[in-house]
Symmetry: C2
């Protein structure tokens, strides 16, 4: 491709609204333009990168025996109603009516629609099946942001497996996990596989692939000492035991007129945070519920959702709390509460001599023994793990990393096949409901995540595997016949060797050309100028290192081939 | 690919609801399944064919210098409002609101959205540009039907050209026309380029590519004697002149109590249809309008729309007609009408001694001289051409063919660049509004149209260029080691020669295997059976002709290669 025939509207300045590095560089480099918040147009350079990402994913899907489909993006409401997700998906689902008034949804994901196709499977002999597609997903994000990282419309590679039994699902899940690891490795995208919540998908297990990025919104807990890694939505740690004092025979009133927070209580009354009970009030699917965590711990809402299989949770309002407990946040407690469900975090189990609110403003109770004084209905892991806590597997202090989710694989179980009435003939003649897995990679998010991890102050540094071009041949001086001849010759030779090469034949100053090639991140640059040609040489520059060496013209193609071979 | 690992749910029976051949065969062959009316899931075989079609289109787009983009499918209403098409598109446009209440549209086409991107073009030096994409279009068709031929969701290759002046547009248009001819030739799809109406696109000229199909809904007028071809929306003919009698000095009352139609008047009062004026009453953008055509001619509504640049036309109701003219259809006429606009078809110009309704039920007028007696406001070509009329170019009797539109190219002019405020610096320093073209091919419709023209009573007969597999190696007897070894060997050899080969390794009866291979339309079949192997031969069968020949095993690969080379 000749640059003069390629539309690459690079910008000198950073776009004003870009909050993430990838957003800034993809706009400046002429890869993308925003149509409206959360919707981006991909320009020719981005289309090239996207196609390479798609090809890599497709190869790895084919390698594990998955088959490609393309399913509609517009769905009848009826199928989503049958699975129960018409309601669950809430405002994140784009909904519309057709000219006849029928309810439709834009597909956020395709579990339901692939499951409809599986209704044609007849017998255990037809299983396993692994089906996938590249299809646009639409999600009405509350706050689209960070360029391609969080959008309302994007391409997803989503696959779905159908197996006769759990062992088969384990195999399909394992094949996908290994394929995803190969895919991210080939994309040059660091992606940590972590245990995660299954969220609205349902199912028994899920693994997320998380790529470190400051623009991310997910916290991942990772052990530097072993392979433990989990989303904070799921992570645990081996907290050191707290040694409690003997305590009191019964809770005792403690006047705390000025202590409305854990910290104030700690400072004014010498009660360390880990000796306090923090009482949170939530509305869980319309039911007011008390949640207890240790004073120095935070609740993870997703853990609450997962524990209770809740559809929606939200903190109660001050009014709701006042009406139920007769006090304001700051003096809340669960001692003596019988009429509301009480959940407590595992870290509080067995604790004695604790302090908590008395449900009277300005008053706390001390000497509380949780299991004696509070009617805990359910114990669960509800707290957020923080950096430095011991790994649950090996005890090493844990790290917490900011990441973006680039892939997610789920063991779904039989939720969709059951609700949509799928059965096949089993080995013993009985009807069997197939068990499913679901597996997704966001294509444009992967593209942007690669930029998040591969850039410097000059621009993007694409890995060779996904670069829009592998090599740029830059001609310095488009009116110098020797230069144009040599550059055109190298261009043709590299093309005939099937190298993906861009010829910068623009009539621009060298500074502009170098800056653009660096900004758009071409891995290798061959510079053809009059001065070098006088000695029979061109310059070969590696984008990642900035290293430049002089190479005889006649050896330039061989040199490029060696660089590309070494890079793969 | 091994058939045992490919999901191809072929059916024994025709689907009950299939009205078009392509629909019937694509469902029976396991290529597609309907999700809801107008929305189809593509199964693995269809995905393979679609990918080959996309590759051919992409190659030809690249060859003319067009560049690939991907633009959003969800659009802000505001941009469509600025072009005026938010209103024009009516019920065919899917509309929705997002969680914040903003109006959105699902893209039916992308003139507006590509034009937004063109706002960044700075100067005449940046032009011409030809930009294209493969993107899903959504159209809320009143009557989705005929499988993939008329749907509500489909992939379109749409391109858009931006030029500085009309001569540039002519060039971009010509490049696309030639590319489309090559594309349809490579797809094996007969497609007649015809003059067509530009419809809601606006613009100065358009050419449709029409493929003969009984499932089509468009009539094309074609001359067997020269290159004249046009959609009936646009077609004309060289009608022989009618010699009129001397006529009367003024129209004269003719009592016609039982003549309510052209035919009845003709039979009862000996007035041939071509001596009658047919008076039609339409509502054109809220204005009641009289349309006059010759008694034996029919109005083409699109010609009326194009003539008046109307947004919407519809026949007036009996009540509206009664209120305006005081008579029922059957006795309507335009003599003496001054308060309504009157349009007349060119074939009526200069006619005398005609008969028409008197706007009194049961009464007509005879001796009408049109130009003397009727206040015609505008003359235009409004009539439908019928088979046998003389070609406007060479006089040969015209044919009328039922077709389906597989491509459409438009000279758009400056409608979109003007309304969206695009200007670039011109050669002389002035601001210039670029001139646009727009060009589309429906990918899945092309796929189905190929089936419409390539099938027989056994199934589909794919052209080699787009077949899901080029060759099927069918093993007869999966338990005979000699057979499996020979078949596997051929399979591996063909794969290593980059032949797209399917190995039918299923444990099925030969009849089932042959029937399936024929149904799904694989161009060549190599049959490996014990009997042939005893003589050291396999059978090679050509799907299109049914021809079978015996080929030594050792020569089978070379034989296939020759067949494939000859087919391209």
């Amino acid at each position: 491709m000749r640059w003069s025939q390629l539309y690459v509207p690079t910008l000198r300045e950073d776009p004003a609204d870009a909050d993430a590095v990838s957003h800034r560089l993809l706009v400046r480099g002429g890869f993308v333009r925003q149509l409206m918040a959360g919707h981006y147009s991909l320009l020719p350079l981005a289309v090239r990168v996207r196609a390479k990402i798609v090809d890599i994913i497709r190869e790895e899907m084919t390698a594990i025996g998955a088959q490609e489909f393309i399913l509609p993006a517009l769905h009848p409401a009826e199928i989503w109603q049958r699975s129960g997700r018409w309601e669950v998906m809430g405002e994140e689902m784009f909904r519309l009516k057709d000219r006849k008034g029928a309810d439709l949804a834009l597909g956020m994901t395709h579990e339901e629609i692939f499951t409809v196709l599986s209704q044609e499977l007849k017998s255990y002999r037809d299983l396993p099946q692994m089906w996938y597609q590249f299809q646009t997903k639409f999600r009405d994000e509350a706050r689209p942001k960070s360029g391609l990282l969080r959008v309302r419309e994007f391409t997803m590679k989503d696959s779905y497996s159908f197996d006769i039994e759990a062992g088969g699902l384990d195999r399909s899940f394992g094949l996908h996990k290994a394929a995803y690891e190969r895919i991210f490795a080939r994309l040059g995208l660091p992606a940590i596989p972590v245990q995660a919540s299954s969220g609205s998908m349902g199912g028994s297990a899920s693994v997320e692939f998380m790529s470190p990025s400051n623009a991310g919104e997910d916290l991942v807990v990772r052990c530097p000492g072993c392979d433990y890694a989990a989303n904070t939505e799921k992570a645990t740690s081996a907290l050191p035991a707290v040694v409690d004092g003997p305590g009191l025979d019964a809770p005792e009133r403690l006047d705390t007129p000025n202590a409305r927070t854990i910290e104030e209580l700690s400072l004014q009354h010498d009660v360390p945070a880990e000796r306090q009970i923090k009482t949170l009030v939530y509305v869980v699917d319309d039911q007011l519920t008390l949640i207890l965590v240790r004073g120095d711990h935070n609740l993870v809402e997703q853990k609450l959702i997962d524990t209770l299989a809740a559809k929606a949770v939200r903190p109660a309002t001050a009014e709701e709390i006042q009406a139920a407990l007769g006090a304001s946040p700051g003096s809340l407690g669960a001692v003596g509460i019988a009429e509301l469900p009480i959940l407590a975090d595992e870290a509080l189990r067995g604790r004695t001599d604790m302090t908590t609110g008395a449900n009277t403003d300005g008053v706390h109770l001390r000497g509380v023994s949780i299991e004696r004084d509070i009617a805990v209905e359910r114990w669960a892991d509800l707290r957020e793990v923080t950096a430095g806590e011991p790994c649950p597997q090996c005890g090493t202090p844990l790290e917490v990393v900011v990441t973006i989710e680039v892939g997610h694989i789920f063991k779904l179980g039989r939720k969709y096949t059951e609700t949509l009435g799928v059965t096949v003939l089993g080995r013993d003649g009985e009807r069997v409901v197939p068990i499913m897995g679901s597996y997704g990679i966001g294509v444009e998010r992967a593209l942007a995540s690669i930029v998040e991890t591969h850039h410097d102050d000059k621009g993007i540094v694409w890995p060779v595997s996904v670069a829009p071009f592998e090599v740029a041949v830059v001609m310095l001086g488009t009116s110098d016949e020797k230069v144009t001849e040599a550059a055109e010759g190298l261009y043709r030779q590299l093309q005939s060797e099937r190298v993906d090469v861009l010829l910068d034949d623009r009539d621009e100053r060298p500074g502009v050309k170098f800056r653009d090639v660096e900004l758009i991140g071409i891995p290798y640059r061959i510079t053809v100028g009059a001065r070098g040609l006088a000695d029979g040489t061109v310059e070969a520059t590696t984008r990642a290192t900035g290293e430049t060496q002089s190479v005889p013209v006649a050896e330039a193609v061989e040199h490029v081939r060696k660089l590309l071979t070494a890079a793969v």
